[in-house]
């Protein structure tokens, strides 16, 4: 995708600043590192998607058709590990965040450019380990690694996978650290906190979670490693351990990790909605602080994954109540985005279509999240396809739609080229339809009682599974189309110019693609984000 000879006779830019593989592999330019990430996570996404396709094909009928149960179990485990650790967690931060944070604050690069490159290499080492596991025995514990199955019983490749997840964590931690320091110390003159685009607030909140949460996952993986290798009794009751302890440790990271996946998307949506309504975001400070609130409250709700796990009832009551609390900042965001449309000048370009899809799907994902934090309701639907549907609404309907909105929005900036708007709109529409047909039936089949991670299932669940598989084939078309029209835009796309969307923001004031050091001279900021006109501030 990244062709070094792209945009030939143009001005010097970050793409033609150096040539040859070495100039890419040893680069410290945040924009080039973003491209390295883009290529790596795209490969992960395609692999994860391929596994999803196989899963959906197997589930067409209640019986085992294509593979044995051991293979099926390895398949859904790998799908989860690859998509979550390989794609969703790095996706927007490592690609768009890397590319845009220095541009948006008017800086030449991130605070620690070499550390940034190191993050990518760490990610690659871990990524290769995950792929190695995939082709050498696989992992069958589910991406959640629940003990004592993972620590004492499973004969699959638990050790290399936990080690890979442990290593990958450092990539996350370093990226988060880099972003936090950059946003604190490298803002251009006049770029105050409340003049920052909301994308930066969400990246800042995300980085906080990466920095504070990921070490807990790393330690948990080490403890699991220690129990499996040395027989230290930590989680397995047969060794005197406590299996619930593992679940607490695991979700202490992995619930906030959901916000690592969704907060960056929320940031993208703010940028896209502002640009395609030509308006300030309604309630800027509410949206900004709601990101920070999500990052903080997100650390206090982990045990809502454990309402039937054997935890005390009193703990369950508290975690349920706190889970409702974390819904409030999300509700504030949805309200403010919708209110921004009011009296806007709405243009339905591709990024905006994805953003509107996000609004609908994230709302459903969020509301069904409240079903799951409701105690009695959770008892029936937890560990069923209802949960699968819910988190795909958040992670695909939310995170992936946000990522695609952002990729299409900033593609002209990243590559200097416009893609085919017709094909892109078509892909957005197909994705939206395919997504709903795939995942909405899963709410129903989960409510009917079909447990998740089932290779074979009761016959009455078949109709809804067929629907879901049919939807997945539509969704696959929507996901594959961008590979073609985005790639071909690199050669045949119209030149984008500095600001093809007429959007506000420092990144649109420099060339597309940006020069090696982003700005010819350091910008001075005198206005807040989304300066599309004088503020009237009247409702109605």
């Amino acid at each position: 995708m990244a062709v070094p000879t792209l945009a030939l006779p143009q001005k010097k830019n970050y793409i033609n600043a150096g040539s040859g593989l070495k100039s890419w592999l040893l680069t410290t330019d945040h924009k080039r590192i973003a491209i390295l990430y883009l290529i790596s996570i795209s490969i992960m996404f395609l692999l994860g998607g391929l596994m999803a396709a196989l899963i959906r094909m197997e589930l067409l009928t209640p019986a085992a058709d294509l593979m044995g149960s051991d293979d099926y179990n390895r398949l859904f485990t790998s799908h989860g590990v690859v998509m979550i650790f390989g794609f969703l967690i790095p996706s927007i931060p490592a690609v768009l965040g890397n590319f845009l944070i220095p541009l948006m604050i008017g800086a030449k690069d991130l605070a620690f450019p070499r550390v940034n490159l190191l993050s990518w290499y760490i990610y690659m080492v871990a990524g290769v380990m995950v792929l190695w596991v995939l082709f050498n025995g696989g992992l069958d514990t589910g991406w959640t690694f629940y003990t004592p199955y993972s620590s004492s019983v499973s004969t699959s490749e638990v050790l290399p996978t936990t080690l890979a997840v442990f290593i990958m964590g450092f990539s996350s931690i370093l990226t988060g650290l880099n972003f936090i320091v950059t946003i604190h110390t490298m803002r251009a003159p006049g770029m105050t906190w409340f003049r920052m685009p909301l994308f930066l607030w969400s990246m800042y909140a995300t980085s906080l979670i990466m920095l504070l949460g990921t070490p807990v996952l790393g330690i948990t993986m080490l403890l699991l490693f220690a129990e499996r290798v040395f027989g230290v009794g930590i989680f397995d009751p047969a060794l005197g351990g406590d299996p619930l302890l593992f679940q607490h440790f695991f979700w202490f990271y992995s619930h906030p990790a959901v916000y690592i996946m969704i907060l960056p998307s929320m940031g993208v949506i703010s940028e896209v909605i502002a640009a395609f309504t030509r308006k300030r975001i309604f309630g800027y400070r509410f949206v900004a602080f709601s990101s920070i609130a999500i990052a903080i409250f997100g650390f206090l709700v982990w045990a809502h994954h454990m309402f039937v796990a054997g935890m005390s009832i009193h703990a369950a009551l508290i975690f349920s109540l706190l889970s409702y609390l974390v819904a409030i900042p999300s509700a504030i965001k949805v309200f403010n985005w919708s209110a921004t449309l009011y009296k806007g000048s709405i243009q339905f370009s591709t990024p905006m279509l994805y953003a509107m899809g996000f609004l609908g799907l994230f709302t459903i994902g969020g509301l069904t999240g409240l079903f799951l934090s409701a105690l009695a309701l959770d008892v029936h639907v937890t560990d069923t396809y209802f949960v699968v549907a819910h988190f795909h609404f958040i992670m695909v309907g939310g995170a992936v739609m946000g990522y695609l909105a952002g990729l299409h929005f900033w593609w002209p900036k990243i590559t200097g080229r416009m893609y085919s708007e017709t094909w892109a709109k078509l892909a957005a529409l197909i994705t939206f339809i395919g997504f709903n047909v795939t995942f909405f039936p899963q709410f129903i089949v989960g409510f009917l009682g079909m447990p998740r991670r089932y290779h074979t299932y009761a016959p009455e669940f078949q109709v809804l599974n067929i629907l879901s598989t049919a939807g997945a084939s539509i969704l696959a078309v929507g996901m594959i189309l961008p590979i073609f029209y985005l790639t071909s835009s690199l050669w045949s796309g119209k030149r984008a110019g500095k600001n093809p969307w007429g959007a506000a923001g420092l990144e649109w004031e420099t060339e597309s693609p940006p020069p090696q050091f982003n700005f010819d001279e350091t910008p001075v900021v005198t206005v807040g984000a989304y300066n599309y006109g004088p503020v009237e501030d009247k409702i109605g």
Binding site: S69, D70, T144, Y146, P148, Y149, V153, D236, P237, P243, T277, R278, K279, R280, F282, G283, Y284, R285, F286, V308, G310, L317, Y324, I328, A331, I332, F335, A339, L341, Y342, S345, I346, F348, L359, G360, T363, I364, L367, L370, F371, A376, L377, D378, H380, T382, D383, G449, P451, R452, R453, H455, T456, A458, V463, L464, Y532, P534, V535, D537, K538
Partner: protein
């Protein structure tokens, strides 16, 4: 195939209450989804860009509106929370007269034992309109006992007991699923709960000893713990053969066990504990963990000497000592 099913069977006292609450939640979700989608679609038509140089009015926000919206939302959330909390607490609070069934999960099967000792595999016969309490444990990894038609589920853990209860309202056969991923044949760790009329259940109990007893138990590694002998009777024999009586009878070396079940005891080194299934389990396997105040840590562990079934029988025997006393006192 055929019609698309939309609603699961409802066959317990809990499932009726659950469904009313569920409809309330669905109503709220649909209401807010329609509200957001409606606003987005309406604004999209009403405020679509009509000319390339259009500059819309800039509105920075409205704090009163934000707060004004959050307060009713928080109110609705509190209603949903409270309603669910009440139902949830009821789920773990079985009536005192509930019939108790012992459930052991194992990769990849369920074993059930009735109060009089009848055992079955992957099938559970219960009487209609009778509260049933399940005392559950696992012999290997975590499983989860899930009956969708009853809207109940709870994880089944190795090394401890968890409980669940239900009262079936309709005669019929219902799915039993393992809902916590447990390895290769997780999706085949399934069975049936068969709800019978009271008389049919009595009749089943009477014949179960000869025909209903598991034939596959030996092959599958589930220890067969003695046909239709009631667990407390088997426990009494174990109590003698393991030599428990030597120390516990009379309460000189170890605490007397008569009437101890369900009581609160003071522990050596401070604190107290309620003597329930999990406390007795720990006291047999790790006797030095929670010693009753006034006694020495002299009891050897029985870890490895008693299996899951025998442990359960011993506990039921100790429990029976308490109910006998209660009866004589009355």
């Amino acid at each position: 195939m055929g019609d698309i099913p939309l609603f699961p069977e409802s066959a317990s006292t809990a499932s009726g209450q659950f469904d009313i609450m569920f409809f309330f939640m669905v109503f709220l979700a649909v209401f807010f989804t329609v509200l957001v989608a409606g606003a987005v679609i309406y604004f999209s038509f009403r405020y679509r860009r009509r000319s390339a140089d259009e500059v819309p009015p800039q509105i920075s926000g409205n704090t009163k509106l934000e707060v004004g919206l959050m307060v009713p939302l928080a109110g609705l959330a509190l209603i949903a929370f409270t309603w669910n909390a009440v139902l949830y607490m009821n789920m773990w609070d079985p009536p005192d007269d509930a019939m108790e069934i012992y459930v052991a999960g194992k990769q990849w099967m369920w074993k059930m034992q009735h109060p009089d000792g009848q055992q079955e595999i992957n099938t559970l016969h219960v009487p209609v309109d009778t509260p049933v309490k399940l005392l559950m444990t696992s012999q290997d990894v975590i499983h989860s006992f899930y009956v969708p038609a009853f809207r109940i589920k709870h994880d089944v853990l190795p090394g401890r007991y968890t409980t669940l209860w239900f009262e079936a309202t309709d005669v019929g056969e219902y799915h039993l699923f393992c809902a916590e991923y447990c390895g290769t044949n997780h999706s085949r760790m399934i069975g049936q709960v068969i709800v019978l009329g009271q008389a049919d259940y009595e009749e089943w109990l009477a014949t179960a000893g000869s025909t209903g007893s598991p034939t596959t138990a030996g092959d599958s590694g589930m220890a067969d713990s003695g046909g239709t002998v009631a667990p407390e009777a088997a426990g009494a024999q174990l109590y003698e053969s393991l030599g428990c009586a030597g120390c516990h009878n009379g309460g000189v070396i170890g605490p007397a066990l008569d009437g101890i079940f369900g009581e609160e005891v003071q522990l050596e080194g401070g604190g107290s504990a309620t003597v329930d299934e999990n406390y007795l389990r720990r006291s047999i396997l790790q006797p030095n963990a929670d010693i009753v105040a006034g006694y020495q840590p002299v009891m050897p562990t029985f870890e490895g000497q008693v299996d899951e079934d025998q442990l359960f029988q011993l506990i039921k025997y100790i429990e029976s000592l308490s109910s006998d006393n209660a009866e004589t006192e009355q």
